[in-house]
Amino acid sequence: VRICIVGCGAVGSLFAATLAQLDDVEVWAFDANRAHVDAINASGLRLSGADDVLGWPRATSVADELPACDFGIVATKAMHTGAAVTATAHAFADGCVASVQNGIGNEEEIAAHVARVIRGTTFPAGRLLAPGHVQWDVKGDTTLGPFEPSPAPLAEIERLAAACTRAGMPTHAVADARGPQWRKVIFNAATNPVGAITGLTHGRVCEDPALRRLVSSLVDEGKAVAAAQGIELDADPEELIDHAARPDVAYDHKASMLQDVEAGRATEIDFLNGGIARFGRELGVPTPLNDAIRALVKGIERSWAQPR
């Protein structure tokens, strides 16, 4: 089986390094970061933290070098999906492509370039420490299912899920993956921007009762938008939020959006709170707090361009 990880940041690296442990899987890692690519090819891709892994995927920044692949796993930031998939689509002419990205709307973007698409959601998290080296902060499950308008065959989805699971990334193949996806987007939209605005880790956000109530209000808006589409969440995002706040889980985790804000990088706010708000508008479900949080984070992004 040949699998290409498209976007080998923190989450992409978790898949690339673990899948590269398997004898029957050939892993390619496509990433725009040349220093990261060169480091992977020179010294391997190292994970440390929740588990210590050294994998040897073949890394490249040149899409033309990619061979035909059975599977793609897209793990770019949501705003880079279009560009990354446009560049790599030729490698997936006969393959299936899964999104394991944050937010809503990535599968639609992938389906514009690829015929067989897998809706995916993943919970593991980490951060890039140095080129070729990723800190694995949190372990977690991945769920894959057909993207309804351009579905991949369930047998193929099961094959990819089995490979990930054997590699140490527990993955479930399901018929309807929208529940886990909305559970995660509601989780992310309710917590990531709050961390990004306040500078607090996930645990710190949750232990402040007033702030935790704000998180719940954001969750409630997301649940209403999911319910209006007939999506059944596979679990309550509130439980996920409290679970992640435990000291042994993700208390000290800085949400990726906080990492982005600290680095002055564009955030995924448009695909999280913006995604919930967009579906809310289409369905006539008001989302005033998600709108407010999105405006604040967009304001933070705009502040970086201000003369001082």
Binding site: V194, I197, T198, G199, L200, R204, V205, D208, A210, L211, R213, L214, S217, V261, E262, A263, G264, D270, G274, A277, R281, P288, L289, D291, A292, I293, R294, A295, L296, K298, G299, I300, R302, S303, Q306
Partner: protein, 322 residues
């Protein structure tokens, strides 16, 4: 007749008041830090920008050293009023006390410490402190003042203070009922200051932009509308529409400088990692909403976020963005 004034707090607003008023009255300043009192005693209080002069006045950090006064102006940050008024308890019999903080509620705090007649004021002037004894005067906009309801403060007293302010070169206006002005300002501040503090944006054109659904102007407008609903429930008719105040401030540029954008005091506090006045601004509005039984989800959210931001500095004082 007001001939002697004591200004408590030598931050930007206190310094601007003290320096200007020293041109028409005997002024003493009560500073919190002895170094600052000494600097003002030694060098005088220098004002630059909209006015250019050095005021010679008496400054001390010891309330016992203050000469008698006819008017005491408390110009500390809102959260420091309680401690400041406690230091004045038992002093200044016969004087009037004027509060000039952002937000709502500091008059009540003062009243707990003495039975002085209280004058409420809100000010739109602003500046930047360059040193302990030098303030840059940036916006020479008005200070509005009125009798604090319930303390029997005569309006004639307010008119006299207004007259004193005008003669000193400051802009002011005496109002029989300050509440409409005070509420216009608290809604404006709860909106603009909190958004600025959370985004690190000075008060610029983005605050009035409402094209794309994610534009900041929608949030600003939503906050203003929520504030107006609270005012209506509290039975207060606003003097100025806070949304129009916002649009005016960012489009015309009250300084006449086309690309000038004011840095609200709450953003200034955040940039210096100093405690903000959010409890007296957003917090006051949310408490009024609760009292009147109306919802305030947006102001509640911003209040919680600013409080959490303050808390993040306590948790990681040395943490800087990498």
């Amino acid at each position: 007749v007001i001939e002697r004034v004591c200004v408590v707090g030598a931050g930007t607003i206190g310094s601007l008041c003290a320096a200007h008023l020293s041109r028409v009255a005997e002024v003493a300043v009560l500073a919190r830090r002895p170094e600052q009192a000494a600097a003002i005693e030694r060098d005088g209080l220098r004002i630059s920008g909209k006015s250019e002069f050095v005021a010679r006045l008496h400054a001390t950090d010891d309330p016992a050293q203050l000469p008698p006064a006819d008017l005491v102006i408390i110009a500390t940050k809102a959260h420091a009023v309680d401690a400041a008024a406690a230091r004045l308890a038992g002093r200044f019999p016969g004087a009037a006390v004027m509060t000039i903080q952002n937000g709502l509620g500091t008059e009540e705090v003062v009243r707990r410490h003495g039975d002085w007649p209280i004058v409420s004021a809100v000010t739109f002037m602003s500046g930047t402190r360059r040193s302990d004894a030098h303030v840059e005067y940036e916006l020479d906009t008005a200070t509005w003042m009125g009798p604090y309801a319930g303390t029997g403060t005569p309006f004639e007293l307010v008119q006299e203070i207004d007259e004193l302010f005008r003669r000193s070169g400051l802009h002011s206006e005496a109002l029989r009922d300050l509440l409409p002005a005070q509420w216009s300002k608290v809604i404006f501040n709860a909106t603009v200051n909190a958004v600025a503090a959370l985004t690190d944006l000075p008060h610029n054109r983005l605050f009035a932009e409402r094209n794309d659904p994610a534009d900041l102007g929608h949030l600003v407008h939503g906050l203003v509308e929520e504030g107006k609903r609270i005012a209506a429930a509290a039975g207060v008719r606003l003097r100025d529409d806070p949304w129009e105040m916002n649009v005016r401030a960012v489009t015309r540029g009250e300084t006449g400088m086309s690309d000038y954008a004011h840095v609200p005091s709450m953003l200034e506090d955040v940039r210096h990692r100093q405690r903000t006045e959010v409890d007296f601004i957003s917090g006051a509005l949310v408490r009024e909403a609760e009292r009147c039984g109306v919802e305030a989800p947006l102001h509640t959210a911003l209040w919680r976020l600013v409080r959490a931001l303050e808390r993040s500095w306590e948790l990681s004082p040395a943490q800087e963005p990498s």
